[in-house]
């Protein structure tokens, strides 16, 4: 087929004036993002993370719980690509399945804390001053508190579980979302279109949901990309200490923990358990920073 045979796209009659300009700005930014090597590397690593976790059973070479005692503590071989652990379980497979725990915690933890943080932040920014101050005090207290010590105290009371890890992740992530949502809401509160909306008799929930939220959520989504490494690290760290996912379930933290106990016999487990953690962290950080620099350069300040 000749290139000249392809019909030129007809100009869209609806997309005129301001809409056309907004569209071209968005397109320009997308091209800028696609040309950003750091962002592309990040996107690649993030896709790898999702794919390896979702399709873990497809990529796996063994069953994560099957033991192969004669070949225990082996280094990388043709059969066991990343060696085996003290029970002869395949480390490569266990690390793949560990990605599923990381993905689960990241997906649930980040989305729940994003929603709660968004609502609390808008309430703090839009509500009365005393409520704002109270919420700010609580956010600051939580944000600054050492996560591990909070987790240790909670585990002492409730016992270790994945649910508790999720709860800790959510509680400690809410403040950063809420603070960001609050700052944007405060800036919007006095703008003319909100005043106009109010004079038309719109209720506060309607203003928040229909007019404030769409303007606030963009930066929060970018922040959520940068929050994933934090969340994944908390899960791995707590599981490493034996406070999160319980054996025999595979998680990057438990693989690292079991590997650390036998570190003098074989180095491969702590290497194999750590690499995906580093790659995931790097990927989301690169992606988040590229998105932030292109779509919301203001966010950069103060971080």
């Amino acid at each position: 087929m000749n290139p000249s045979d392809i019909p030129a796209p007809a100009p869209d009659p609806v997309r005129t004036g301001a809409a056309e300009r907004a569209y071209s700005v968005r397109r320009e930014k997308l091209i800028l993002f696609l040309r950003n090597p750091q962002g592309m590397l990040g996107l690649f690593l993030v896709i790898m993370f999702f794919a390896s976790a979702i399709f873990a059973p497809v990529f796996a070479t063994h069953d994560p719980l099957t033991m192969d005692i004669p070949n225990r503590l082996s280094g990388p071989t043709a059969d066991h690509w990343a060696g085996t652990d003290q029970l002869g379980r395949d480390t490569y497979t266990r690390v793949l399945y560990g990605g599923r725990v990381a993905l689960e915690v990241a997906a649930i933890g980040v989305s729940v804390s994003l929603v709660i943080g968004l609502v609390l932040g808008m309430v703090a920014g839009f509500g009365p001053t005393w409520l704002d101050n109270l919420l700010l005090l609580i956010f600051d207290a939580i944000r600054s508190f050492p996560t591990v010590i909070l987790a240790l105290a909670a585990v002492a009371l409730l016992g270790p579980s994945l649910k508790l890890v999720l709860a800790i992740v959510i509680v400690t992530s809410i403040p950063s979302y809420a603070r960001l949502a609050r700052t944007s809401t405060l800036a919007l509160k006095r703008t003319e279109f909100i005043l106009a909306e109010r004079s038309l008799g719109a209720s506060t929930p309607r203003i928040l949901a229909r007019h404030i939220m769409p303007n606030v959520i963009g930066p929060l989504l970018i922040l959520s990309a940068m929050d994933v490494p934090v969340v994944v690290t908390i899960e791995a760290g707590l599981s490493f200490l034996g406070l999160g996912v319980q054996p025999p379930t595979a998680s990057w933290g438990t693989v690292l923990n079991e590997g650390y106990l036998i570190i003098r016999d074989t180095p491969w487990m702590v290497i194999a358990g750590g690499i995906p953690l580093v790659l995931t962290t790097l990927g989301f950080t690169f992606l988040g920073e590229a998105l932030r620099d292109i779509f919301d350069p203001k966010l950069r300040k103060g971080r």
């Binding site: 050492p146 591990v148 760290g237 180095p267």
Partner: protein
């Protein structure tokens, strides 16, 4: 200035009081009746009532809380369930190890990170700046407990340069320092990146100010301008960052203490959680919060002392 100091102190007190209240409520939500646990199942109701009266367990909750808060304010954190030793005494032995680790970690990170940030701000987008950027993101991306494990693998097991376990012989400074190197390296590594990025960002901002332009017009060398004049102002957000990030630093020391089996507050919390020795956990958590509050207070006061604009705004 005094008004600011007063407000800031009040905030610290509120945070500590909230923490004490939260701990008290948490301890009360543990299932189990303390009287029957302390006396065993065969105690008669009379003995139980006498014990409850002696320990004020028959009083309402707010009364018990006031007694608890009063004891804490007097420095009495209760006693160890197993050894009956004073918790305050145990913690005062452990705290120096944690503080030494935190200071060493932050110290080496500042010594490396702040100059790196300055150098990359002198020539933005130069090769040095790019390398610093990559190093910063790289060090931030590796969690500190992973750094600890990999450092042990490389320096202790493969190369056999440094010891792994413990804090060194008591009284032997050299041995203690050798034991401090790896944990401090692991805890501080991420901070190198944080500090370098923070200093670079605020330095670039300061470099646009008028007084820097004047200095440049006088013909001072860029290096002199950056290190002697701009750094004084550019360091302020970094001090705030250290204050806010101190909680994260303490999380790092907890992991390092556990992995390297070093004595310290984090290690004792971990061990006592596993042993379900609640008075020690509670005391150690309180001490950590107090430590955190004091450090943020110092950081805030330092910034407001160095920068008059901050104290006006609060």
């Amino acid at each position: 200035m005094w008004w600011y100091l007063l407000k800031r102190l009040a905030l610290s007190v509120v945070i500590i009081l909230l923490a004490v209240a939260a701990l008290f409520l948490m301890l009360h939500s543990i299932p189990g009746d303390p009287v029957s646990i302390a006396l065993g199942p065969r105690a008669t109701p009379e003995v139980q009532a006498a014990y409850a009266a002696k320990m004020h367990l028959d009083k309402p909750l707010y009364y018990q809380f006031l007694i608890f808060a009063g004891n804490v304010l007097q420095g009495d954190l209760g006693s160890d369930v197993f050894s009956n030793r004073s918790v305050a005494l145990t913690l005062s032995e452990q705290l120096p190890y944690t503080i030494a680790l935190a200071v060493a970690a932050l110290g080496w990170a500042a010594l490396v990170g702040i100059p790196l940030g300055c150098l990359s701000a002198i020539r933005p987008n130069s090769w040095l700046d790019r390398i610093t950027g990559i190093i910063s993101v790289g060090t931030i991306a590796v969690p500190s407990f992973l750094v600890s494990i990999w450092a042990i693998l490389l320096f202790s097991i493969t190369l056999r340069w440094l010891p792994v376990i413990g804090a060194g012989e008591e009284g032997d400074i050299l041995s203690q320092l050798r034991h401090l190197i790896l944990p401090a390296f692991a805890v501080g590594l991420g901070w190198v990146g944080y500090l370098a990025r923070m200093v670079r960002a605020s330095m670039l901002e300061v470099m646009g100010e008028n007084y820097i332009r004047s200095a440049r017009a006088f013909g001072l060398r860029p290096r002199t301008i950056v290190f002697r004049y701009a750094l004084k102002v550019a360091i302020l957000p970094t001090i705030t960052l250290i204050g806010v990030g101190f909680g994260g630093l303490l999380s790092g020391t907890v992991f390092a203490e556990i992995i390297f089996s070093r004595p310290g507050v984090g290690k004792i919390i971990y061990d006592m959680v596993l042993a379900r020795n609640f008075p020690v956990v509670q005391g150690a958590v309180l001490v950590t919060i107090a430590l955190y509050v004091v450090v943020t207070l110092i950081a805030d006061l330092m910034v407001s002392w160095l920068d008059p604009r901050v104290r006006e705004s609060l």
